[in-house]
């Protein structure tokens, strides 16, 4: 039948395609936080250098991107992994087992993490200690770790509204969660003196860390699986909630959101850049050096990304919400890439 003939042709095409395939398009995968920035660079790159195709950028999270990146070397593997955290030693090891040894880490800037509420809510002035006390699974009561009894914000700090605690936090698969645990929960734990008390009681550091960063699961804090837009959707329907969002997301929706100060500092690009606002994370991408000479346009793309035209303080990435790295860092980065 005709159908069989079609199958034969398609199968034939598939089997021959694998070997005859040469890639002329850069392939990138990784963090959904870096995605908007990478998209801006990729599209502008395609407009300025029309002889190159616009890179394909997959979005699946930092971890998934690194996994693809470490699959091996060659045209069938991706060239760049976008991440919202540095690569961990175990990932570097996996990479080098697969033959991906020579990789360049490129730091593109910072992203602030903010606590946002509905625009009509009163001003929020939080401290790391408040947040820790509101969200910890277990808190110190009479020298013992016991499940957190606090139900309302004003029970922690009388300046806060008399609302039920409801905080939407990105789930475990997001790079944001790790930063939240490290820079909010653990730090809040230290600032409220819990760490010292626990250490004095003979608990080891690992156990203290786990006790500090575990977030309560009794319906006051909610893990969200999606991106910032999901957190945003939650607080637009539950007006008394707080959502943990990225600063760039807040900037794009400032007409509907109000952002909380943390330890008295308002999150802005300036305060994140100067490190006054402590909850931020670095954004990176990693590129396979071997691919620089195989994939057409890859070297040009990286150079274009690193130029001040893109990641500079007046560039389109800063306008979208990227907190740019200091000039010296950018220059060192560029010199390091060009010198090789």
């Amino acid at each position: 039948m005709g159908g069989m003939c079609c199958i034969a042709i398609v199968v034939g095409v598939i089997l021959t395609a694998g070997s005859a395939f040469a890639r002329d398009q850069i392939q990138i995968a990784g963090s959904s936080t870096v995605l908007p920035y990478a998209k801006i660079v990729a599209e502008t790159f395609g407009e300025i250098y029309p002889e190159h195709k616009i890179p394909v950028i997959e979005s699946g999270g930092s971890g998934a991107g690194i996994k693809e990146f470490c699959r091996g070397i060659g045209e069938n593997t991706i060239d760049i992994a976008n991440t919202s955290r540095p690569m961990q030693p175990i990932e570097l090891q996996a990479c080098s087992y697969a033959g991906v040894k020579d990789i360049e880490e490129i730091h593109i800037g910072y992203d602030g993490i903010v606590f946002a509420a509905d625009i009509d809510s009163p001003d929020w002035h939080l401290t790391l200690k408040d947040i820790y006390q509101a969200l910890a699974a277990r808190v110190l009561t009479d020298g013992q770790l016991q499940s957190n009894p606090v139900k309302k914000w004003n029970a922690i700090n009388s300046n806060l509204p008399a609302w039920d605690i409801a905080v939407y936090i990105p789930g475990d698969k997001h790079g944001t969660r790790k930063i939240f645990e490290e820079k909010v929960m653990l730090q809040g734990c230290r600032e409220s003196g819990v760490v010292d008390t626990l250490r004095a009681s003979g608990m080891d550091d690992k156990a203290i860390e786990i006790a500090c960063v575990s977030v309560r699961k009794d319906g006051m804090a909610f893990d969200i699986d999606g991106d910032s837009s999901e957190g945003f959707a939650h607080i637009t329907s539950k007006k008394t909630g707080l959502a943990v969002l990225s600063l760039s997301f807040y900037k794009n929706n400032a007409d509907r959101l109000k952002v909380a100060t943390v330890n008295g500092v308002m999150p802005t690009e300036q305060t994140v850049a100067s490190r006054q606002y402590s909850i931020s994370r670095p954004l990176f991408f990693y590129v396979k050096k071997v691919h620089l000479d195989i994939i057409p346009g890859l070297r040009k793309y990286v150079e274009f990304f690193l130029s001040d035209q893109m990641i500079g303080p007046d560039g389109p990435l800063a306008e979208y919400g990227l907190v740019v790295a200091p000039q010296t860092v950018r220059e060192v980065q560029r010199a390091a890439f060009e010198s090789r």
Binding site: M1, G3, M4, C6, I7, V10, I14, L15, A17, G18, S19, F21, R23, Q25, Q27, A29, S32, L35, P36, A38, K39, I40, A42, E43, G46, E47, I48, K53, I54, V56, I57, E58, S59, G60, E68, R71, N76, I78, I119, G226, D227, S228, S229, S248, F249, N252, N253, A254, D255, R256, G321
Partner: protein, 434 residues
């Protein structure tokens, strides 16, 4: 008293539970109506939320202005005759900014105001005017009426999707820009037009130039691949299993497996596709060929099951009659049984395709959940799919992507409705009852 007497005097009717049985029927009808109303209510809420947010995506705010193609800006050194590169890198947005500033009466030394003027229109004018000038170099020095896109923020503000009442510092559009917007709209330079770009443009970081083009082509390629592969394979498998084999332990095993595959979560097919097609056969990632193959695997069980039940519905008398007048087994099947089963097969295939069209999970692992801004020429080029584009837009931060997400859902729903209507029409027209 008297009435009671009458009651007593009439003979007792045999209790056959009539009233109870009527009541049971009434109750069941009420349950049924409640069930349908609940379903209709949620469908209504879904459609309302999608359409109320999404209908505005089909209109886009544009500006029409007379633009002076100033040679001093495009080619200040007058070298374009021997160096065409200059036409390529010229500062085209400046032409539009100057034209707009002139129209709005903004002085040429008010840099802050000029900065705000240049945020009124989409930066896609660079490519638009560049292509215009490269195609018609004689435009340089002259004046030409050009229609171009307004920026996404102006578009959202014009559609009243940005809260303009709040403080100026809290929104991405200033009071001055709003006033300009109203002025331009009053004299007709700023207007709404049907958003053809939604269907023709590719993914973009600018909401105003984002479209479903790549996703539509990618979905089309994948549907073609699914149709071409799964229909013949599925029908051949079903005909063999139904007409040629005898029921034994082996066919039972095959049947259990096929039914099982039909209910396997689709992400599993994605894992399989990644392992087999990408890593083993070395097919390129993110391409519609890999997506089509994965969706073929997913659709096959649906088609096999539908075909088998369609074949089973053909009465045995047809087979007996054909065999009786001397047709061979194969002639019986292909001349008589299969043609009668075609409506059922078509319905099953269309439903399988509609299912595949709406699938995202298996595409995630083979790299099709991606930003792709070049049209795929062949199925071997990177592409996305309609549901994937919806997912990508839903995660965007800009306000203007909200309406596009819902707009894309409307487009997908229209395709699904068309396919499902087609399957009903086919069944109505060709189905035979015995």
């Amino acid at each position: 008293m008297r009435k009671g007497d009458v009651c007593h005097t009439t003979p007792m009717r045999r209790d056959i539970g009539l009233r109870q049985r009527y009541r049971a029927e009434m109750r069941f009808r009420a349950y049924g109506i409640t069930a349908i109303s609940i379903g209709m209510f949620f469908l209504g809420v879904l459609l309302w939320s999608v359409f109320s947010k999404g209908y505005s995506a089909f209109w886009q705010t544009s500006l029409t202005l007379n633009i002076r193609f100033d040679a001093a800006i495009i080619d200040p050194k007058n070298i374009r005759d021997h160096d065409s590169q200059v036409l390529f890198t010229a500062n085209y947005p400046l032409l539009v900014r100057n034209a707009l500033a002139e129209k709005l009466g903004v002085p040429s030394d008010d840099h802050l105001a000029l900065h705000e003027v240049s945020h009124m229109f989409s930066s896609s004018v660079r490519v638009q005017l560049r292509d215009l000038v490269l195609g018609h170099p004689q435009l340089i020095g002259g004046i030409q009426k050009v229609t171009f896109l307004a920026s996404a923020d102006i578009d959202s503000a014009f559609k009243k999707q940005i809260n303009l009442a709040g403080s100026e510092t809290r929104r991405k559009i200033s009071n001055r820009q709003i006033e300009w917007m109203h002025r331009l709209s009053a004299d007709g330079s700023l207007h709404r037009a049907f958003n053809t770009g939604l269907f023709t443009l590719t993914a973009s970081n600018r909401p105003e130039t984002s479209g479903l083009g790549v996703a539509l082509v990618g979905s089309l390629y994948m549907m073609l691949i699914v149709l071409v592969l799964s229909l013949p394979i599925g029908v051949a498998a079903a005909v063999y299993l139904e007409e040629y084999t005898h029921k034994n332990r082996f066919t039972d095993l095959v049947e259990v497996n096929i039914n099982n595959l039909a209910s396997v979560p689709s992400i599993v097919f994605g894992l399989l596709g990644l392992a087999v097609f990408v890593n083993f056969f070395g097919l390129p990632r993110s391409t519609s060929i890999v997506g089509g193959l994965v969706l073929t695997l997913m659709t096959l069980p649906t088609i096999i099951i539908a075909t088998r039940s369609a074949l089973r519905a053909v009465p045995p008398s047809i087979r007996s009659a054909a065999l009786g007048i001397g047709a061979s087994k194969t002639q019986t099947v292909f001349h008589h049984v299969l043609p009668l089963a075609v409506p059922g097969i078509m319905t099953g295939t269309i439903i399988g395709l509609a299912h595949a069209l709406g699938e995202t999970a298996p595409l995630l692992l083979i790299g099709m959940v991606a930003f792709v801004a070049n049209y795929p020429i062949t199925p071997m080029d990177p592409a996305t799919a309609l549901p994937v584009q919806i997912y990508m837009w839903a995660n965007e931060a800009e306000r203007a992507f909200v309406e596009r997400t819902s707009g894309a859902i409307i487009v997908l729903l229209v395709f699904l409705i068309l396919m499902n209507i087609a399957s009903i029409v086919l069944r109505r027209r060709f189905e035979r009852r015995w």
